[in-house]
Amino acid sequence: MSPGAPGADSAPLLVLDGVTKSFGAVAALRGVHLALHPGEAHALVGENGAGKSTLVKILAGAHAPDTGRMTLDGRPLQLRGPADARDAGIAVIYQEPTLFPDLSVAENIFMGRQPLRGLRRIDTRAMNRDAERLFDRLGVRIDPARPARGLSIADQQLVEIAKAISFDARVLIMDEPTAALSGVEVDRLFGVARSLCERGAAVLFISHRFDEVFDLCQRITVLRDGAWVSSDPTTDLTVDEVVRRMVGRDVASLYPKQDAALRDTLLEVRGLSRAGVFSDVSFSVRGGEIVALAGLVGAGRSEVARAVFGVDRYDAGQVRVAGRILPPGSPRKAIAAGVALVPEDRRQQGLVMELSVERNATLARRRALSRLGLLLGGTERAEARQWTRRLQVKTSRLAAPVATLSGGNQQKVVLAKWLATAPRILIIDEPTRGIDVGTKAEVHRLLSELAGEGLAILMISSELPEVLGMADRVLVMHEGRLVRELPRAEADETSVMFAATGQGATA
């Protein structure tokens, strides 16, 4: 499996020792160890929020560690910025593509390192040719002269990969690079990674797909809640063992969705389409039911949710709430009809960070709480207290700005805000992204309780265990289309991932 890799016998190339990083009160990394050996592919696994991306940012020079040491070739390594990391030979493929939409594909690849001709001018022709060569090596055809704007997620990811391999990196870090790629493209990427390894580079590979981890990597490091759990050779591990170390408890008892009596259909979406974003999406959600919308990043799930709620327009189709047509393009009417949307990005769309907890919690109810157009502090506070208590928001006082709360508690305030509108339908986008494990379980229990009370819940989630544990039915989207509907009994990791990567759709 590991063809003659020098591996653990050689001296490590890059070492992280006791690295700690906190953001405000939240500790993202606590004393993490990592040793990357030349010629070895090393996997870093952990649940969402385990600290993998923070670790990547530290290696990329984008964040400075609070404490701990880094060495490269045995010499202390200090990265004052991404340029330092690049000069040290560390290349990073980020989870979310970081391209310049206005610039050409070739410029995106070679930014800051463009080939030059006389008078230090950029040699555009050489740059396009070099980019073409990189794409040949990856076996794809993307026009280097076209702007990056409008590239599909997969093509954007390929540009990122071309960027990373364009300078002969000694350390290649790949943060979930395969999420949007097809099987052939993944094979090509792994081929490139292996040839880098053969030339003595070290590869750090981050992925949720265990088949890929076991296929490519010789060693696996597990992180949990920002702390280092273990580093072992792949040959000593099984998938079950790795998963057990990641979650630190029994998988089966993770997500307690109680069975609830199904009531009437509350939300019905028929033939919803928006050109270039999603097309012909139809589904329904009944009271007491949790329906998960699964799929890869960029499949159009959040866009569908936004269209249903009326934030975005749609070109065709119909949304019915409890049998009555919901007029498109009006969040106000959606709220009045009993629909609530808890968005994915809390900071930007769900909360006003500078305002107090109580103000945020009652933001969606301003109209109902005001008398003669004035907001009265008393009713606002009473209402806020009721919901924050039920959701167990941990805050020193209700007047504290939301920005001072932890991610999990911020999410509870967003929930409180929408539950205060007494919705019949709750659309919740990534309910537990970036929040700690304890709060996660609380959010899940709460969702289950709400469904028990007769709410129809549409949950968008990228975390498979969450989807499988919480949902009565799983709808899988791929490239803007609803490709699969799986009842709870048939939904498992393989069937959902299969559909989400589009393999099931064409078969």
Binding site: F100, I122, E479
Partner: protein
């Protein structure tokens, strides 16, 4: 929409091979060319219509006046382009121009024998210093440039008023060699316009062909990605404000040479004309695209509208309305082109599906 499920092998087979041998022009570059061509057409149409009504509009003197009139706005618009491309804006340029123009007059009052190149250098340096103030405040305070330069717009103008204390400097106070700079011509072309041409050519070429120039577009296109690619964002933005300050200083000296009569109000309100010229010239206000050539054409077009409406004896009120309509038309055109391009790019991807 995308190709994920068709796979790379089919993608190679389905797409026609790009003509790799011949040099191709990228879509972005072609778009810029279309944008600049549309400005030239608008300019030509305007000149044609005006000349049909009054044939003196194309006389030598009239053209000379036009070139003289647009030179200062062109220089300022090019400087502003450097700033806007990085997703910033500098509203203080009118005040910097006023301050430098008055300072130039004061310099000649204090030291009448100063040779004009020295005055030019002093003016450019003073403008650059104002740019340092802008850039430094933006870097330290981490507040949008719009707010900072709105503050320094009033601050620089305040310094100007305090210094002038109601006085006026006249042409008689300045040496003849300096004033000649303002209306001398070389082969019929005003020196002022030649200076502006040099500024446009240098800035345009720099933005297109140098690494740091391209980095300015990268910063404006996606600031977070720029940081991750190791671009020294703070340093580049600072440099851009200093450069723009220096160009505003240059414009200030040329203003003094051209008009001769200086008080503390020189250049008031000019900043909006400058931003308008850049926007009409196709510089995207959210950064990341646009060229110095386009901004310069925008400045020429705005100046020409001013004088052609005067020739046509149209109420000055209409001049404002026309400029407003032109800005809206320019934005509309940009949006239309962007949509066309987006549709084409989608169409390209769809070949493989």
């Amino acid at each position: 929409m995308s190709l994920t499920d068709t796979g790379a092998a089919e993608r190679v087979a389905d797409n026609p091979p790009p003509d790799a041998g011949r040099p191709r022009r990228g879509l972005t570059e072609r778009l810029l060319a279309v944008r600049e061509l549309s400005l030239l057409i608008a300019l030509a149409a305007l000149v044609l219509v005006t000349t049909l009504r009054n044939d003196r509009f194309l006389s030598g003197q009239s053209i000379k006046d036009l070139l003289l009139g647009c030179a200062i706005l062109v220089i300022l618009a090019v400087g502003q382009t450097l700033v806007i491309v990085t997703r910033n804006v500098d509203l203080s340029v009118g005040s910097i121009l006023g301050l430098v123009a008055f300072a130039t007059g004061e310099l000649f009052l204090a030291a009448p024998g100063t040779p004009w190149p020295v005055a030019l250098l002093v003016g450019v340096a003073l403008g650059a210093l104002c740019g340092v103030v802008n850039g430094g405040l933006i870097a330290v305070a981490r507040v949008p440039a719009l707010v900072i330069t709105l503050g320094t717009l009033y601050a620089f103008r305040g310094v100007d008023y305090y210094w002038a204390a109601g006085r006026q400097i006249n042409a008689a106070d300045m040496p003849r060699s300096f004033l000649r700079l303002g209306n001398q011509t070389v082969l019929g072309v005003p020196v002022l316009f030649l200076v502006a041409l040099v500024v446009v050519a240098v800035a345009g070429y720099y933005l297109r062909s140098y690494r740091s120039g391209r980095e300015l577009y990268a910063i404006g296109s996606e600031p977070a990605a720029a940081r991750l690619s190791g671009i020294p964002v703070g340093r580049r933005v600072f440099a851009v404000f200093v450069a723009n300050g220096a160009l505003a200083g240059l414009a200030g000296v040329l203003y003094a040479a051209r008009f001769g009569t200086l008080d503390a109000a020189a250049g008031s309100g000019l900043e909006l004309q400058v931003v308008a010229a850049a926007v009409v010239g196709g510089v995207a206000i959210f950064g990341g695209s646009g060229s110095a050539y386009g901004a310069a054409l925008g400045a020429v077009l705005l100046t020409t509208i001013g004088s052609s409406l005067a020739v046509l004896r149209i109420d000055p009120f209409w001049q404002q309305a026309v400029v407003g309509a032109l800005i809206l038309a320019a934005i509309g055109l940009d949006r239309l082109l962007a949509l066309r391009v987006a549709a084409r790019l989608r169409g390209r991807s769809a070949h493989g599906a």
